[in-house]
Symmetry: C2
Subunit: 430 residues, 2 copies
Amino acid sequence: MSCFIDVLHESDFTIHNIPFAIISSSESQAPRAASAIGSYAIDLLALAQSGAFGKCSVLGNGVAARVFAEPTLNAFMALGRPAWREARAAIQAALSATGTSKLREDEELRQKVLLPLEKVKFHLPANIGDYTDFYASKEHATNVGVMFRGKENALMPNWVHLPVGYHGRASSVVVSGTSIRRPNGLTLNAETKLPEFKASRKLDYELEVAAYVGTGSKLGDSIAVGDAEEHIFGLSLMNDWSARDIQQYEYVPLGPFLGKNFGTTVSPWIVTLDALEPFRVAQPKQDPSPAAYLSAGSLDAYDVKLEVAIKPPTENTPPIVVSRSNLKYMYWSFKQMLAHHTVNGCNMRPGDLLGSGTISGPTPTSLGSLLELSKNGNEPFQLAPSVTRAFIEDGDEIVISGHCSKEVDGQRIRIGFGEARGVVVPAKSL
Amino acid sequence: MSCFIDVLHESDFTIHNIPFAIISSSESQAPRAASAIGSYAIDLLALAQSGAFGKCSVLGNGVAARVFAEPTLNAFMALGRPAWREARAAIQAALSATGTSKLREDEELRQKVLLPLEKVKFHLPANIGDYTDFYASKEHATNVGVMFRGKENALMPNWVHLPVGYHGRASSVVVSGTSIRRPNGLTLNAETKLPEFKASRKLDYELEVAAYVGTGSKLGDSIAVGDAEEHIFGLSLMNDWSARDIQQYEYVPLGPFLGKNFGTTVSPWIVTLDALEPFRVAQPKQDPSPAAYLSAGSLDAYDVKLEVAIKPPTENTPPIVVSRSNLKYMYWSFKQMLAHHTVNGCNMRPGDLLGSGTISGPTPTSLGSLLELSKNGNEPFQLAPSVTRAFIEDGDEIVISGHCSKEVDGQRIRIGFGEARGVVVPAKSL
Ligand SMILES: [Ca+2]
Ligand SMILES: [Ca+2]
Ligand SMILES: [Mg+2]
Ligand SMILES: [Mg+2]
Ligand code: NI
């Protein structure tokens, strides 16, 4: 596929990608749907109004202009995978260097549809009804377990039998670029054994990827694991900010609460499963075999290279990479998470968000949290010549990025997720 | 205050109450706001269109007709406590036996506004962005702790220092009358020590009261405990259905998930804090004193008599009362819960739901769950001459009700919450 717009080979937004987001611009401040190509956002409402989706079977007859005018992607998500597929194909056709394309031939239309990325503002891509976070990396669960319960009891017995998850807070999911205030809370004073109210001293990030539910399910029904991919709209980057000291004091017996719900950052772009298809790889071998309702093919992981970088406020450098991981390390697949989540009849709605849990790999350079990197703060590391870190300091910007790249038919293809970034601002004074 | 409509003294919906709900009717199928008086729902959209809120400072100028026409109460909630107060006062004035009342004098208007309760359909009163469940009854937390961890470790050390809570699932909160399907899931086989996939055999209810957030807060901000009541729209009954066997297998370390999220039933009516004001009583003494951000007055409990009844499918009787508890047993107040929930900057939105946790009292007849009543199934009890129960059986209907009653100036006043009811239907076959 060749594109009439020049796209750098290292761009996240090649014609093979076609991700979805919600944008606004100074010319048109109403949030609306967009895709991206190279250094441009593609205004999908303007593209729909030009008739580019007219021949689509679901999106024709004005449906595209209606759903792409919405301030969230929920209505588009609810249309189902055939609609997501034909949207991607129609956008690729409009961008193609060959064949019929009004966009390619009409200079005025191009001005309206193609907006320089640095000029658009991003909004949360969906109205997230419910956000659930899982715990699907065996390396991460083991690393954390060793620190808190010792090597013998690192993994709970249930961990290998089901994808452990918990409900998160939907209201505080924010789009990349939103600053995050350091939370205050009760933490244990190790000497007095009593709680103290203060600003968190163990503020951390968690490198995650999240799936958006596209089409939902009814209360009392389940989504079969074999059908689950049809319900998943696509994937985004996610930073599940975590205050380890608050979390540790509060989490027994009912799980994480104030240690997590002060903010969760998602990337603006959602990359569809269709775009990720060429990057499908084997998932880690599951031993013991899971229950039948969780049994799926083994090719359910995606080879997505992930990075975490920190930009300290004192250094005039680009963000400094502290970790390189990969989505393929996830022990449980998103298909399995969705099948598990609904096996009891729990209903899903378009826009629901499923976090992977922190994605750590097998090596010391692939750890997805500072908790693991600094061994719960006991081993601060060198970030720059004069900068060490154990946990996040005020003013630090955390940048998560991800991309896939692969040789296909002698040609290297690349797609990327953009970034999920956020600066930590000081706590409110007590 | 006297009402021109005859209201039975034992009615939940006296002129002292004026609760809020969302209804539809066969004549007008669009969901809209309602209140209640005696055996009638009050169509608030029709009442607003008659000009009954014309002199209100927030609800005047057509605002009442706009917010009461919405399919949820969220827009009304977002207007704030002055609007809730003037709405209640204007409705009471319209119902008054004295003074000017178009409703009282206009027979045709009464036909449009007053709809027999048995003819209206109830909908979920709010779009619930996030639902959080707490664990605020010391008796319940202790009873459960003794069963699972023994008498010495019954209460976790953090329990007396903060209102323990966890995020619940908003999508599966349903209005009273919705049937609940028995969930399937993984539970531990005690002999093999391996999980088995099957229908829950320990299906339970939890007697709870829930607060709806009225006005919200911004991410990064907190709601001070002294200001928290201004943010709470009102209270409803809630049944937090729980599958104890699924819950027990899954909940360590990240908390309840599939054991809870298959359904949560709320009553249609929300009783405002203003209506509850005469029933304010002292809350249990908090020892140790909580941190400053949780320190409030001690008159923050409400004397609300609560009942749980079970109607077995085999018996032709009214529901049989199995428990009588009271909201005043809550150790932590809703004010404290809201202050705690936001102290880290977690944002609230209108319509957010805060569950109390199971409300158990100090006696064997005031236990808020079957887990406690049957000692985790070990002591089945007699429900009717030929009926025993340890946990919920298929076809059982669980009915939660609640009311307040008190002598004020020589007159007994009573307000009630209506009911939260639900029938359990058999699990899907595996
Ligand atoms: Ca996480
Ligand atoms: Ca509960
Ligand atoms: Mg978070
Ligand atoms: Mg529940
Ligand atoms: Ni190509």
